[in-house]
Symmetry: C2
Subunit: 116 residues, 2 copies
């Protein structure tokens, strides 16, 4: 299968990475915007809903995702969908809509031009 | 585009995540198998080759990827291809073959049944 870019069955159906990076003020960073709490909340909700595990969902810590101007950010793979979130309700919607049902949450999408 | 699972152009063409998690012995963990050095080497090579940046490649730190029995591991998204590597030559091959040219490195693939 050399050259194939996508295995038929990814190990995790959806793998969300939360940037938890910390930078010195006044630089934008996710850690300064509640990223750790959002990560913990997401992980808890995914477990509660029975979505966690191989073939299902993984909620992951990550270092800087290099899109700091949209902080706090998270990315869902293999979909390649990026989010900027504010509160636990946003996380709940990402979990229910995207991680559970595969429906992108339009209102939380990170604009394409948001970078570091 | 609600319901679409893959944007036409992902922000990063290939996004590799290195597990840098540390666990107390005797548990398997990536940090105990040279993951930090491999991450640093990969990041350096990607920069040297001019592959780093939006539309190109991102080399990322990650927390536990939950496939500890294959430690040290890394995953390339959006491809969803998982690797277990040993030394800098392995990293060089992943960079040249997969990150630069899109060719999966068969010999380093993590077997599908390797979990935590």
């Amino acid at each position: 299968m050399a050259g194939m870019s996508s295995p038929a069955q990814p190990y995790f159906q959806r793998h969300i990475f939360f940037c938890l990076n910390e930078r010195a003020a006044p630089q934008a960073c996710c850690a300064g915007h509640g990223a750790q709490e959002a990560f913990a909340h997401c992980k808890k909700r995914v477990k509660e809903l029975g979505l966690a595990g191989p073939g299902k969902v993984r909620v992951n810590k990550a270092g800087c995702l290099d899109r700091c101007q949209g902080a706090p950010v998270a990315v869902v793979y293999p979909d390649g969908v990026w989010y900027s979130y504010v509160d636990h309700e946003d996380i709940d919607e990402i979990v229910e809509s995207h991680l559970k049902n595969g429906q992108v949450v339009e209102r939380l999408l990170l604009p394409a031009d948001v970078g570091r």
